[in-house]
Each structure stands twice: as structure tokens, then as C-alpha cells.
Amino acid sequence: MPINYILPEFEVRRDYDRCICCRVCERQCANLVHRYDEDAGKMLSDESKCVDCQRCVTLCPTRALKILKNENSFRENGNWSARTMTEIYRQADTGGVLLSSMGNPSEMPVYWDRILINASQVTNPSIDPLREPMETRTYLGAHPSEMRRDAEGRLITSLPPHLELDVPIMFSAMSYGSISYNAHESLARAAAELGTFYNTGEGGLHEDFYKYGPNTIVQVASGRFGVHKAYLEAGAAIEIKMGQGAKPGIGGHLPGKKIVGDISRTRMIPEGSDAISPAPHHDIYSIEDLRQLVYSLKAATEYKKPVIVKIAAVHNIAAIASGVARSGADIIAIDGFRGGTGAAPSRIRDNVGIPIELALAAVDQRLRDEGIRDRVSLVAGGSIRSSADAVKAIALGADAVYIGTAALLALGCHLCRSCHAGKCNWGIATQEPELAKRLNPDIGYARLVNLVTAWNREIKEMMGGMGINSIEALRGNRLMLRGVGLTEKELEVLGIKHAGE
């Protein structure tokens, strides 16, 4: 029998004085960790299968359960962490590429936490959002460069197609297949109620959701899954996915066992076949090819919908964005390296890409230097964790932000990062009907609405504190930010001063 090098990562600690043997933990764990032992007359747990999803902990009616890090430890080593060592054991066992889910969890700098926001005092009054109008309405799209007047000298008020958002927050792309039908329904209904948009991701659009079309961004990714005429026409905007923050340079991956029933039909591929998106779009090998696709999509939808191009934050993001801005795209979405994913090779997720804060600042500045910032709107994503992150992103230059992980957290995700196993205990990243049932969209959509509403209120409070009452005046307003504990170079890239200056 080969040696099992993979030791349990967690310990299940049960307070037996509190446990009433209701067996809810047993019934609700998809990984079969808990069981009731008749002979012993108590609950027992097999911690080797635990992924720390916190389902049992949250449902236990007497709060008898805790999941702890397994105290069993390797000898301390500043260079070889337990995680690194275990990853090598895994690869020695299987010969496979390590897969991870959700965003990069490593200890890299989080610039949002090093940036501070201003408030008005004495020389300029702050504004009270409870008593004065405070506008967060945002339009995404291109701006015309010429004013035209009719014969009577009146302005001709035609504009290129825009997305109108009541709040500067949208739901980021998460494909049907990587997340469940119920998760999509929650996102769609929340987007409709909030007056914002959600994104189909590269899994196509289920026909039950066409009715939410006016609040849907349909994505065209390298695999072109689910892309057909009605799909393009159903959405309010079309997003060409050139890259994703969590895995720049490669395409999506949905294992064959998740491609069943509706997933297979919506993606337009046979059941059981792996849905592996190619790394590049095979008809886009250069910027001029992108321009061709942008205009093909516009022509196919009669120039009535804005086209978004989503790019991952990589080293020369500023130059790439400049090219995209000149390719006819109306909106550029930049996805930072902390962005989430249903499944990605661990090495790519953790080592490829750059932080969204730096990418956003660089792109916004480059587009202004070239005088083309008003040709596109910018959307930033890749770990926007709070309304403060959103305000900082807008002040750095974004028109709006995309939230992915935050939305899933609102739906019940506990970031156990086991999505790729397909056994999400919260009904989000799974296609098993018994598990998907756990996400009731009536509850899910209300939680999403609550989250975004709360953030919008906080954004208004912060804006009021800065003496701003319309969000346009916050966009790119770098003087409202100061850095703390950042190097000269970091401050320079972010384009902000240090606190105290």
C-alpha cells in the first residue's frame, strides 16, 4: 500500500457537551465527513475529507462544531511551507497539473489597504447624503468627439450605445457550468432589481434567463460556447473575453462530468465532453483581428449594443489597453491577478498577472496621456472587497467595478476553494441537483441586493465626506487618495501622493 503523504488539512472539533446528535451536520456535508455511530451513541468525524466549507458549523443549532487548522505540523521552515511541500507530494502522487479555485490567496501586497481616502474640512464643506442629492448613476460607453447642430442651431443629441447603471457596481462573469442555475438566477434577478448588470461568463445563456436580457452582459470567449444570434441579441452588451485575471494567457476549463443536461445544451457541446477553451481566440492573433471581431459583433447587433473587451492585468497592460481603446471597443474591463475562477492551474493563478490597482492606474494614465480616455469607459475587477475598494478604484480612474467573489460570498460561499471538485456545499459551484438546491434564489437574490445596496449607501457616505455629490467628479480624482507605507515607485505608478503631502 503506497504511503499517504497528503495529511488532513483540517481538524473537526466537536464540543460533545453541546452536541445534541441532531445529525444535521451529517446530512448537510457533501464530503461525508460526519456520521452518527450507533454503538458509540455519538457523532464521529472523518477530518481527512473536510474542506472547511463551514456548512456544518453554520447549520449546527447548538454551535457545537469548529473547524481548525490541523495542528500537526512539519518542522518550521521559512522557505518550504507546509503548502509547498504538500503540493510536491501531490504531484509526485499523480503526475498532474495542480488545480485551484477562486482567487490568489498568497501574501502579495494588497494596495487597496495601503490607500486612504480624503474628507473635506473647513475650506470646503462635506455633503450630507441623507439630506442632499447624492448621485451614483453611471453610464458606460464611448463619448462622441464632435458636437453637431441642426439647422436651427440646436444640438443633435445622438449618443453611441451606453449601459446605464444605477450603482457603479456590476456582477462579474461567472459561467453557467462553473456555477449553478440557481446562482445565475440569483445574479440575474438581483441585477434587474438593482438597475445594474450581470455577466453570463463563457457558458452561454440559459433560455429561462433571456427575460433578464436587459440586465445581462453576454460574453463571447475563446471557446465561443453558446454564441449564436439570439444570444447576442438577448444581452444589453457583448463582452469579448480576451483574458481573465486569475489565469492570464489560458482559457477556461470545465471538466466533462459537469457538462450534462442544460449545461451541455446551453454551451452547444456534447454531454460529457470537456469544455476547454483555447488560450487565444483562434481568430484573434493580433490587435487588428480584435478590431474585426468588435465590428462583426456590432454589425450583427445593428450597432445597438456597446461592446466590452475584457483583458487580464499583465505587464504591458497600458499599451494593450491603448490598442483596445482604438479598436472600436466601447468599454474596457480590466481583471486583476486576485480575480476568482472555478478552476485554474495553481501555478498560473498564483504567479501570473499583476494587481488591479496598479493596472488600473497605469491604464487610466496612459489613455489620458494619449488623449483617448474619453473613447472608452473602464471597469475594474479582480478583488473588489468592499465599498471602500470601489471608491478607491473609481478615484484611480475606473468608471465602475465588477464584483465576483464578493457576490458569491453574499450567496453563501465560504472560500473553501474546492469549486473544482464540483461538490460545493452551498449550492453555488456545483451541478449536482441535490447540492444546487441549497441555493434558493429567493434568498440568494435578496442577499445580493442587500450587499450592493449597502455598498452604494457607503459609497454615498464617502462621497459626501469628500464634498462630492455626483460620481463623475470622483472618477480619476487622484488627489482624493493618499498612499501610506508605499515606495516612491508604487506611488508613482498609482499616481497618488503619500499621506502627509
Binding site: R18, C22, P61, P433, E434
Partner: protein, 142 residues
Amino acid sequence: MKRVYVNEKWCLGCHLCEYNCAFAESGLSDMVKALKGRAIRPRIRVEERGNVHYAVSCRHCGDPVCVKGCLTGALAVKDGAVTVDRKRCVGCLTCVALCPYGAISPSEDGPMQKCELCLETAAGTPACAAGCPNGAIVYEER
């Protein structure tokens, strides 16, 4: 009149409703004290087979068969809800046999028991609905 309704689509078969019911009925403030080491006899029960789960409790029928069949008049309709007068119940089990939903069962000490919408419990509102983690059980008027 508001009743407890179960949406089978969302019932996960977790059985939390049963434990919340038993706890509410105990009248105690601490769930561990109320339920530890005891076999519960909840007034709502989850019936299940395979992947189908459904919690069953008294429907408070408009024309209750159990009331008609009760030998001693222990079962009666009070403000629309069907209730049991524990002092009158003699344990003949006629109502248990008659109820088409199997909603009545013997309590620990003898008289029959069934869901009475938590009208007398500390909770004041049906504990099963309040404690359902997935919105499967609701307390509403239809």
C-alpha cells in the same frame, strides 16, 4: 389564516425543523439543556426517500376529520387552528389513524400532539419556519 406551508423544491432534508420544533415546545431557553440526550418527538417530521424530502405537519384543515372522529372532544378548532386539550385526550389513537397526513402522534407522556402553530410557545411564531435555512418552510396566508 396563516399556516405553515412547505415548498418541497427547497427542502434539503436537514431536519432542523424537527429540532427547532422540539426546542420550542420544551419551553426552555437553552437548546442543549432541552434536547441533549433525549429522543425528540417533533410535531413536524421530514419524510424522505432518495433525493426527495418533505416536512409534514398539521394542515389545520378547514373541515378536520380528526376533530370529527375524536371520541372525547379533545380535538377542537380554536380560532381556525386545530388544537388538542391534553386533559381530555384518552389516547385512543383514532385521530392518528384518521389524519390523512399523519400529522398527529403520541407525546412522551401520553396525550396526542400535533402542530399548533407555536401559538403557545415562547417563540410566538412557528419555530420550524423561522429556523428553516433554505426558505422551504414559510408561515403565510394563501
